[in-house]
Amino acid sequence: MSLKKFRPCGDYRTSYSNDMSMFEDKGGFYLTLIGILFLLISPFLFDSYIISLLIYIGFYGIAALGLNILVGCTGQISVGHAVFFGFGAFASAWLSNKFLVPVWMAIPVAATMTAFVGLIFGIPAARVKGLYLAIATLAAQFIMEDFFSRAAWFTGGVDGASAEPMKIFNFYFDTDEKYFYVVLFWLIVSFIMVTNLMRTRDGRAFLAVRDHYLSAEMMGINLMKYRILSFGISSFFAGLGGALYGHYLNFVSIEEFNIQLSIFFLAMIIIGGLGSIRGSLMGAAFMVLLPELMDFLTRSLSDTSIDQILSLSSAIPFIKEASIGLVIILFLIFEPNGLAYRWGQIRAWFKLYPFSY
């Protein structure tokens, strides 16, 4: 798994502080700033449906970011990310219902709890890797799903758990427009956290473990520690995303965190770009908007002859699902580096215009 270069040739970093900077150049910084400002005013610009889509992109993006640390940066494939997402949602609801922890505090605490569960399920990573690890996480997926349906004290069993809306000092974040800011806050915090992580020794150790684990071990990197730690950090963000999800829907049911959702997360990071931080968000946006696009296309074809032959309107759920599978295949064949790579190419083109090298 080689990391493709996201920046044009020539290394412009001439000092250590340049090397440690969060943004590649000033343009990146301003683009990010403009993006955040735009998101800050977006609840006043768009209707609540678009805001709800943005919220979905937000918490899926956080969870995908976590998975990207595990799969993209450490090279450990996990097919069980959805259960950590679910665990975060249940843990947050459980904390606020049983122990009356205020919701704004329950969300990070639930994420930390999920991180510990992730550490436990990361233990097989100390022994097996690659394909075998993927199969172990597959087993973890089914075992945790079974745990959710069994542990009624924690998840409410088949009835599911209700999660209170968030409030700070009697101010309720109960509408989409208000909750949007909560998700945005955590999204920005997580992205800053992960960007910082990747600049530290630990982050570079992850990359070293991914690129060649034997060389990494010879350089003095404790393989077992970093493999398990990567599971923990990845689960932290999954739990954070899940907790935000639970308090957004105000209800968590045990059936949602199945293997399809795990695959959905994997699809996000494949499409966004493995090992790319901004790619996680791009992939999440793509995967949330793809079913909407399919919906729109199907609707626009309604009452035409194609619709009548294939009875498209009754098949919308299948079309959405099939499109996810198709998109994964097409991306892997035609654009294996993901959207983030393409984005880097576009930026480079503008930066180097009119000379393309």
Partner: protein, 297 residues
Amino acid sequence: MELDFLIQLLVNGFIIGLLYGVVAMAFVLIYKSSLVVNFAQGEFLLVGAWACWWLLAKFSLPFYLAFLFTLVFMTIFGILIQVIILRPLIGEPIISIIMVTIGLSIFFQAMMNWMFGVFVEPFPRIFNNESVNLLGLQVQTVYIMSGLISLFIMISFAIFFKKSRLGLAMRATAFDQQAAQSLGVSVKQVFSAAWGISAVVSAVAGIVFGIVNGISSGIAFMGIKVFPAVILGGLDSVLGAILGGLVIGLLEHLAHYLDVQYLNIGNMMRIAPFYALLIILMIKPYGFFGTKDIERV
């Protein structure tokens, strides 16, 4: 009563285990020859079963004709998937290959649900007798048939690999791709052949499973159940796959027995193989017959 129940479960477990063994064998065949972990194995079963059902129900063909057409169709299907989708990905990292088969599995599952609906469809009846009396046990005829078909597939596999030229080429490729290629084996052909054979064998298992339980997207779960079996036996061992399938089949029925009789926690039949999988991975990650990866730096 309890003993009868136990023996009944064990017989069922044995026969289901044989079926698992067959699917695991198809899985191992692909892994061994082309190093692709096929998460879409279950969908091969599903596609095969639906194709056969469609021929039977829509065209009212006799069973043997529908069966033959299905086999031909599945051969082409397997080869096409290898050529169109897997071939461009040769040499890509393992995550890409896993994800592409997962993508295939989502795609085909959705397409099958779209084309044939989400409800269980029973196969048209093939046998007149529901069940036969075997040594004092009532065994369903379809179970006996499925056991016989599984054994037949296994034996023909063994003969194919021992005697035929293509089988020899496949073994050579599995042993060392470069050496095989330099000796004139067409690795491309071997890959396609492996996928074709695997698809056919899976389709047979899918049809048998469909006759026993009716066809629904639940058949595709066999493709996931196969993982405990192949890990137990070792990912690249055909014999291990068969034994692993048998063990997993017996294990899940034993777990079901314990569950019903003593534990009463429910759902053990579905979950027990995955606990077994985790334990095996922790103790003996390469299974009982698999070759250990030795890495050269």
